[in-house]
């Protein structure tokens, strides 16, 4: 478990190749760290700092500034539901409340099995397809609770299977 893992070497090189200096690659590498650890963990920050030849303080500062980096451990599926006005007009706020109840968590909470984290976010630019959410940076659109329940069950089954 680390960015030094072989599977990342190509993507790290690609990130460095894009920019004139190492420091500029900090954001793509933070994404990799988040992918590896599920969140931007202290180990991840240190590894990115070493790779980019920066002080870890500066790396953490960048991770803290941008909302797409999570500085807290997250579930395997990070569900970000847009509840802004346009989405709310299509029932996104009710959908969000029901989703939380279904999973039994508060805003920003993670389910006990460690699979799902739910939070509300500002506009994701898909108002016409609300209710919608972003799961690990991929959009799921035109949602309702039936669709969600089926999807949740499917993911739980996958996880149970993987465990065996």
């Amino acid at each position: 478990m680390a960015l030094s893992d072989k599977k990342y070497s190509q993507r790290i090189e690609a990130a460095f190749a894009k920019y004139p200096d190492k420091r500029s690659a900090v954001m793509p590498l933070l994404y990799l760290a988040q992918e590896e650890y599920g969140w931007v963990s202290p180990e991840g920050i240190q590894e990115v700092a070493d790779l980019c030849d920066m002080d870890p303080t500066q790396v953490q500062s960048i991770a803290g500034f941008y909302t797409m980096y999570s500085e807290k451990p997250k579930g395997k599926y990070w569900l970000q539901v847009c509840t802004d006005l346009a989405c709310a007009l299509r029932g996104a706020d009710e959908f969000y409340e029901e989703l939380k109840a279904e999973l039994g968590v508060e805003d920003g909470g993670t389910t006990e099995d460690g699979l799902f984290t739910v939070e509300h976010v500002m506009c994701l630019a898909a108002c016409d397809k609300a209710p919608m959410l972003q799961c690990n940076f991929h959009f799921m659109e035109n949602l309702d609770m039936d669709k969600m329940r089926a999807w949740i069950a499917e993911k739980r089954a996958e996880a149970a299977k993987a465990k065996k």
Partner: protein, 827 residues
């Protein structure tokens, strides 16, 4: 000031240098304090706090003719900008007009203060900054007076966040001006502070290991415009208005930073005067407004438990007994009389000029000229006296077109403020060349780095002529060479200083300001030792031919030199004048006389740039301690050498009459001050921070031979023979800023930052010896007890070399480069 522009501030016309910042110009020329929080004259403007808003316009000119447009009254017409502008992000230009006192400006200031106060705790009564706080002062001056905010909506945040062991952050008080973040990044180059989150959640963080990992952290508490950053040393220690400021000089390194000792009569110190904190005192040519953390937190030794408080005499039984000054001086005089002229002295570099003069006079009266300087590690002083940096040198003026060469020194550890100022010189465009046998922190700021073989500094310097860097050095407008002595013998360091001087002579970089040689000598007064006739060569002679009676002043030979016990055994009588009761005094002295530290008396030091600087009495003496000059002078009196002097000032008069270098120097001259740019330390604490205005004197720089127009001949600069290893390893002592010297050990809050004693070993050597990183190893050198340290095998040491930092444990590391054997320790 060749290129000036005309600006108008509040209807008054001023001619100011082009390119100047408007806030600086208004303050310096118009005496108009535009309030600021985020702007600082030593850093780039960011325009974050909006406190400096002013009405701004330009004198209108006809576009076709370029003529100034006049209104109906014949006055030049001003085109005002539609909104207020930030003065701090404005550079003065011809025809700039501002108004700083109008209702609109006052309203804006009140609104900005009100915004800043929405979540400020207003806990001034328990805040360390209360009484010298820019936010407090500007609130009184511009603030709304009453709050419109709902108390229940106030943000509550952590008030005691340790950013490392030295600095605490109060998150509630922080106004996010980023002065500390920018200081660490722009001025220091250790970017270990940053903002985290954004908007209302914005906070200062550090993620370095250890936290806030830098030698300059204390300065952030001075420039913090609120009480958000406070030092662990002074936190809740006193209120600023209770403190008496005493001008002083930092006793820890050759930079000679001007400091201010804040004292008060303290309950915890028996109602006596106690130093509560050390603050920087502005001297733009020496330390600007900065000091390092060693200077700031290293004042505790002046009242350490270990201070020698009574004169002691060793009786036949071998035990030391406390005696009166009269008896102790009589015992010392008796020993000296018996020795005739077979007497020598070794003086530490913490001795003041007055002390050194008294010691020299005492020995002269006895017929001895054997005056040794301690530690005998660096020989460059006599070269500096001839071709040192010219009179009027200010490292802060080095920049584009200039060059700096640093060789054989880890400046970060040996002279932190020089390192900070030279880093900034490199930022301004000076060509910085760093040459060392091993990687050092300075490499990070260098345009070019050269790593030579251990001990081959002189060869590397001689070889420069054929390298690409030569052109940069030779053609530089100004050239400063900073020469240390790491990895060199005393002869080697003399040759290095000579070789550096030859480069300066050859390229005509001597006898003018901002060019010349700087030697990284040990201690605060190594140049004073030189000017008053104390030499390291004499010390080596004393070590080889020990005298009957040796007078040792403020030098702990046993902690500095592992072979000291060996050669001191041949000395019959040791008279020790020391601050401390342990070490030499306790183990070997026949007579021990307690002397006062720099904080207890008046005196003067000569810094590495040859500036004679004066320090003043801040606290009462510990026990019966006397100033060393007085103790020595009274000893001379006992020996019939004439009446003892009554004051340090009187001793300086005598020095000035007898030592040409000190011609014209007197305490009165040393105390002279003049207005310095930028104007910090006034009542407008928001501008420069809490660094103090210099009221104790800017000092006098001793001219070099080259400054005086003398022709300086080329120096002998034959390369040193590399030490014959015969299969052993070369042991190179190095300097760490934070160590366990007796003058730093009592500063307990820094203990966690002092590394455990270690030695850096090359991985190839370690492999051969079966040593792994973290093993305990023993280092054996001739005539010395074995030194047990932790092995660091991490790429710091070149092959065949072991780097051993001095003063990390009670067992002395080698004084100078030597050879030795390294083995894995049992158990």
């Amino acid at each position: 000031m060749t290129n000036t522009v005309r600006i108008i501030i509040n209807d008054q016309t001023y001619d100011v240098p082009a390119g100047m910042n408007l806030v600086d110009a208004a303050k310096w020329y118009a005496n108009d304090d535009i309030p600021v929080f985020c702007y600082h004259p030593k850093m780039e403007p960011v325009g974050m706090c909006r406190m400096c808003l002013v009405e701004m316009g330009t004198i209108e000119k006809d576009r076709a003719t370029g003529q100034v447009v006049l209104d109906e009254n014949g006055q030049s017409k001003v085109r005002w900008m539609p909104k207020l502008q930030t003065a701090c992000t404005t550079t003065v230009s011809d025809g700039l007009v501002i108004r700083t006192q109008t209702q609109q400006v006052q309203d804006a200031r009140q609104n900005v203060v009100e915004f800043l106060l929405t979540s400020h705790p207003l806990d001034c009564p328990i805040c360390d900054k209360g009484g010298e706080c820019p936010l407090q002062n500007l609130t009184m001056e511009h603030g709304p007076g009453v709050s419109r905010m709902a108390f229940s909506d106030k943000m509550r945040l952590d008030k005691h966040v340790p950013l490392g062991d030295l600095i605490f952050l109060d998150e509630e008080r922080c106004i996010q001006c980023a002065r500390c973040v920018r200081f660490q990044d722009e001025v220091v180059g250790d970017d270990v502070l940053a903002f985290h989150e954004r908007g209302r959640s914005l906070q200062i963080i550090t993620n370095s290991e250890p936290g806030f990992d830098t030698y300059f952290s204390g300065n952030t508490t001075d420039i913090c415009p609120v009480g958000a950053l406070t030092t662990a040393d002074f936190r809740f220690g006193a209120r600023p208005w209770e403190l008496t400021e005493v001008p002083s000089i930092c006793p820890h390194c050759p930079v000679g930073c001007n400091i201010s000792l804040s004292t008060r009569l303290d309950r915890d110190f028996g109602g006596k005067t106690l130093i509560k904190r050390v603050m920087p005192r502005q001297n733009e040519q020496v330390n600007e407004i900065w000091i390092c953390d060693k200077g700031r937190f290293g004042h505790h030794f002046s009242r350490s438990e270990d201070r020698l408080e009574d004169p002691l005499v060793r009786e036949r039984s071998g035990r030391l007994f406390a005696k009166s000054w009269t008896d102790a001086l009589a015992a010392a005089a008796e020993a000296l009389k018996a020795a005739g002229s077979d007497v020598a002295a070794i003086a530490g570099s913490g001795m003041s000029n007055e002390d050194l003069w008294a010691l020299r006079q005492l020995l002269a009266g006895l017929g001895s000229r054997r005056l040794g300087a301690w530690p005998p590690t660096h020989a460059g002083a006599e070269v500096v006296a001839q071709v040192g940096v010219g009179q009027g040198t200010n490292l802060g003026q080095l920049g584009r077109g200039d060059a700096v060469l640093v060789i054989a020194s880890d400046l970060e550890e040996e002279a932190p403020i020089w390192r900070l100022r030279l880093k900034q010189a490199a930022d301004r465009g000076a060509f910085l060349l760093v040459m060392n046998a091993r990687p050092t922190r300075m490499d990070d700021f260098a345009a070019q780095t050269i790593h030579y073989e251990t001990g081959e500094a002189v060869q590397a310097l001689l070889a420069l002529k054929d390298s690409d860097a030569w052109k940069q050095l030779a053609e530089a407008h100004n050239l400063v060479i900073v020469a240390g002595a790491e990895g060199l013998s005393l002869d080697g360091s003399r040759a290095l200083a000579g070789a550096a001087a030859n480069i300066l002579l050859e390229t005509e970089h001597v006898g003018k300001p901002n060019s010349g040689l700087l030697a990284v000598l040990p201690g605060a007064n190594a140049m004073g030792l030189h000017y008053l006739g104390f030499t390291p060569a004499a010390t080596l002679d004393i070590m080889q031919n020990p005298p009957k009676v040796l007078i040792v002043t403020q030098a702990d030979l046993l902690l500095d030199d592992p072979t000291a016990a060996h050669w001191l055994a041949k000395v019959e009588t040791i008279i020790s004048l020391d601050l401390f009761a342990s070490g030499l005094t306790q183990q070997l002295a026949a007579v021990a006389l307690p002397i006062q530290s720099f904080a207890e008396r008046d005196g003067s030091y000569v810094n590495g740039e040859r500036r004679v600087q004066r320090f003043y009495t801040a606290q009462g003496p510990m026990g019966q301690a006397l100033p060393a000059w007085q103790a020595l002078s009274r000893l001379g009196e006992q020996l019939g050498q004439g009446t003892a002097k009554l004051s340090a000032a009187a001793v300086m008069v005598e020095i000035a009459q007898n030592v040409p270098a000190f011609a014209g120097v007197s305490f009165k001259e040393l105390a002279k001050v003049e207005r310095q740019y930028p104007d910090v330390g006034g009542k407008d604490l928001y501008y420069g921070g809490t660094a103090y205005r210099n009221r104790g004197g800017l000092g006098i720089q001793i001219p070099t031979a080259a400054d005086q127009g003398q022709t300086v001949a080329r120096f002998e600069a034959a390369a040193d023979e590399p030490p014959k290893t015969r299969g052993k390893l070369v042991i190179v002592p190095s300097v760490r800023l934070y160590n366990r010297e007796r003058t730093f050990r009592p500063s307990a809050l820094v203990h966690a930052r002092v590394p455990e004693a270690y030695a850096e070993i090359n991985s190839a050597d370690a492999k051969k010896l079966g040593i792994q990183d973290g093993d305990t190893v023993e280092i054996a050198i001739q005539n010395a007890p074995a030194l047990r340290v932790r092995a660091h095998v991490n790429g710091g040491a070149p092959k065949g070399t072991v780097i051993v930092p001095r003063h990390l444990s009670d067992t002395a590391a080698p004084l100078a480069v030597t050879v030795g054997e390294v083995s894995k320790a049992e158990g």
